[in-house]
Subunit: 229 residues, 2 copies
DNA sequence: AACCAAGTGGAGCTACCCACTCCGCTTCCT
DNA sequence: AGGAAGCGGAGTGGGTAGCTCCACTTGGTT
């Protein structure tokens, strides 16, 4: 969902846009929304490599219009993903509050990965930096203590192996992410198979071995390998 | 392997090719070797994105010299990685011959990943296609039955979970690969930690839980996230 | 209804990158 | 000594992506 709450012309709206100014004309405000929606779609599908021309085309507008609202690509990306990142934080808070520590841990991994799989742009923002690295780094710093607590609770509960640390979680997310999304309609849930495998490596209690979904077809694997990710 | 377009010729010294055409001049043959060595280094360090200018510079030669021996980038890449791929096949054969089926399976994963970690170019060739995709696809087809046997033996031995298939192995390699190499001198063996985690998810017998190495530092993770891979 | 600042489109500018070529000069080898 | 093979590396061509410019349109105010 696009953040529509920011008044177009209010001073310091995005934090990035310097100029305070009069309110936007009605059509301009409408187009601003269109740009944000189009950007959300395009970046979700193709990642941050998509150009602002792509975004403009999707929005049915000219590039100039896009650049009139957002001084450059980075500011658009930031406007889009700032709240996405906050949502991840909320997810962590929610997970920490889960009655079962292990379930909370799994819940966090599963849900945050699901978001990244849906939204390739989000994965790019989180895992490949470049854009908004300031925001992301800051988010990471806020997130780390939460993850640490998530881990420690699950370890105290006896379900999670003791030698896992918060930093590992990021790496695990990256691993599963590397195997996610390739496949579009083909095998969109394949990543869950490998998350399950990983979780079975994390759990202390082997009696409850995960059941994996359908294995990938050779064609799916072929396609996965072709992606430079 | 192709030699040239304009100047036919084959190395007298190389022994890699049996072919038609006059022998290379002594200095030319020497330079050809230099090019190959430089290419091996540069591609190993920076992956296939490295340019032939980079290779030439590393070799202490001009680009023209590189292109005199190899008509284009692809032919150089192919000359370099054809036998690397064959080595992987040999590895699989060796692994299948291992007395302990589970150890054979682990051996294969561990060794082939170790190669890819050392050689970023090899990872690119195997996992991101583009170059030599014909060769790679063919190699994959030859490799698949070997991996299947590897898996089935380990499953028959009771060590490997039954729901794993050959295609999974490629995906697992990709996953671990995504987390490998970033780190240069920093934490070159970090990938083993995550391979161990995965293996613990693959094994049926939980009594032998792996001991992980040192966890990554925040700086290491930071750096890992910055890489677009 | 008239006016004009705000807004728009999209061709095109700029800057960059990389695979590859060209050609005057050098080196090997007979 | 002669000439073919080889060499260096500036330059070319082609592609891409971020961004600008400005003639034209539109919204909203008077």
């Amino acid at each position: 969902m696009v953040n529509t709450t920011r008044a177009p012309g209010t001073p310091g709206s995005g934090g990035t846009v310097g100029s305070a100014g009069p309110a936007l004309r009605a059509d301009a405000a409408r187009n601003r929304e269109r740009v944000l929606e189009a950007a959300a779609q395009v970046f979700a599908e193709r990642g941050l490599d998509a150009t602002l021309n792509d975004v403009a085309e999707r929005a049915g507008l000219g590039v100039g219009t896009v650049y009139r609202r957002f001084p450059n690509k980075e500011s658009l990306v930031e406007a889009l993903f700032a709240d996405r990142i906050d949502e991840l934080m909320a997810l962590a808070v929610e997970a920490v509050g889960h009655p079962d520590p292990w379930e909370g841990f799994v819940y966090f991994l599963e849900r945050s990965l699901a978001r990244q799989v849906i939204d390739r742009g989000l994965r790019d923002v989180l895992l490949h930096s470049g854009f908004g690295s300031h925001h992301v780094a800051e988010a990471r710093d806020r997130l780390t203590p939460m993850v640490t607590e998530l881990i420690e609770r699950a370890q105290a509960g006896g379900h999670l192996r003791g030698d896992l640390v918060a930093m590992d979680v990021l790496m695990l997310v990256k691993m599963v992410g590397s195997v996610a999304d390739y496949v579009g309609d083909d095998a969109p849930e394949l990543w869950r198979r490998y998350l399950a495998l990983l979780l079975d490596g994390l759990v202390t209690d082997r009696s409850s071995i995960s059941s994996l979904g359908k294995p990938p077809s050779p064609e799916t694997v072929e396609r996965a390998m072709l992606r430079r990710e």
